[in-house]
Symmetry: C2
């Protein structure tokens, strides 16, 4: 297949919305998460974030990028006030509501009410979960780091409480999020569901990876030196 | 559906591989990319990275997290030496080879040779692309920031050259990566392809988003005030 080359001069020549679509598509598929938060007065906020990424398992750390000049600014303000937020997987049943949270509602408006999702609370956590989401967790903020290169902000949180259906956790700890119809985003506005190709065995030099069944216990197979 | 709660005391009690699988699954689906680099002597390196994320469109910035104590350490060393690297989308045709690059090969070994992928060069770019990948780009490193919270490293690069089939770029700049069978990762080792639900119109307060056809020009429809 013939590939076309685009370089920096081309990017500069793109109209700005065209450039936003084009460049946003390049990272590959992105996770779709709703971030729940509230201010000191309990006014809730819900915003779609496609930049949540795994940072470490022990402690359990998650990163996300916030653009202070666009809609999730209330999220950032709330997190600074309370130190707490939730991350909620978006499934195919709620992706249209999730997308709608990115509209520029006024600060005193709760996106929960506007898009028709249900705030849900866990005792001791001062941030709302999304009732309709089947995989969600609460985080304590650990670091808020401005990235001066383009005025975005890296927020790092530590996962404190996870809520999910136990049946989707495999014997080795892998969580089968596909069973929940968790969606993904490409570009700014395209939503997709997934179909598993395979799990693959832990890669070792000079051995081909083998396909695993979903409920194989990868950790035990490792212990057996397979 | 009944949800089970897991909290920090549970995470601590998990066996370490179990915890790695569990926590790695929580961010949602992750992009699957191969990062190509080489050292000053031209020894090439290729490593699977699932933490590439969009940081900004103008300039076109991409972030990724590197764990210096695991396999991509050669990648980080190479990027520091040459200032350049490539990011290559992983398709369903090469996901097994891509996974295999995460094995701990010695530093003088090229993962290209070991897993059977083809290094490909663009004039003026001192880093190899993956010949078999149909969407790929070269970046100049802009910032390398240690995240002291867990000894990972945030690498930010600016996209300089993009190679892709022009036919997958929609009228408004959106790139239909699903057409390339671009895969995604969940947890540490599960690979998936995707099926589009819909593109959705730009969200505005008090209007429901509408589904778009793939080749609708979103930018023009915005200009028309739809």
């Amino acid at each position: 297949m013939i590939l076309k080359q685009f370089s920096t001069a081309d990017f500069s020549a793109f109209e700005s919305r065209y450039r936003a679509h084009f460049i946003n598509s390049l990272s590959g598929f992105k996770s779709a998460n709703l971030v729940g938060s509230q201010d000191e007065n309990g006014i809730t906020n819900l915003s779609m974030v496609s930049s949540v990424f795994h940072l470490g398992a022990s402690p359990a750390l998650m990163g996300m990028i916030i653009r202070p000049n666009t809609v999730p600014r209330d999220t950032l303000s709330n997190i600074k006030q309370t130190g707490v937020y939730t991350i909620n997987h978006v499934s195919s049943g709620i992706y249209q509501q999730a997308h709608q949270t990115s509209a520029r509602y006024d600060v005193e408006v709760s996106e929960f009410d506007e898009v028709g999702l249900t705030p849900q609370y866990l005792e001791g956590v001062a941030a709302p979960f999304v009732g309709e989401s089947l995989l969600k967790y609460a985080l304590d903020v650990r670091e808020i780091t401005p990235l001066t290169i383009n005025n975005t902000v890296l927020v790092i949180g530590e996962i404190k409480h996870v809520l999910l259906p136990e049946i989707i956790v495999a014997a080795d700890g892998y969580i089968d999020i596909e069973q929940l119809d968790t969606v993904i985003v490409s570009g700014l506005d395209s939503y997709h569901v997934t179909e598993r190709l395979s799990r693959l065995s832990y890669a070792k030099p000079y051995k081909k990876p083998i396909a695993l069944n979903l409920n194989d216990d990868v950790n035990n197979s490792l212990n057996r030196g397979r």
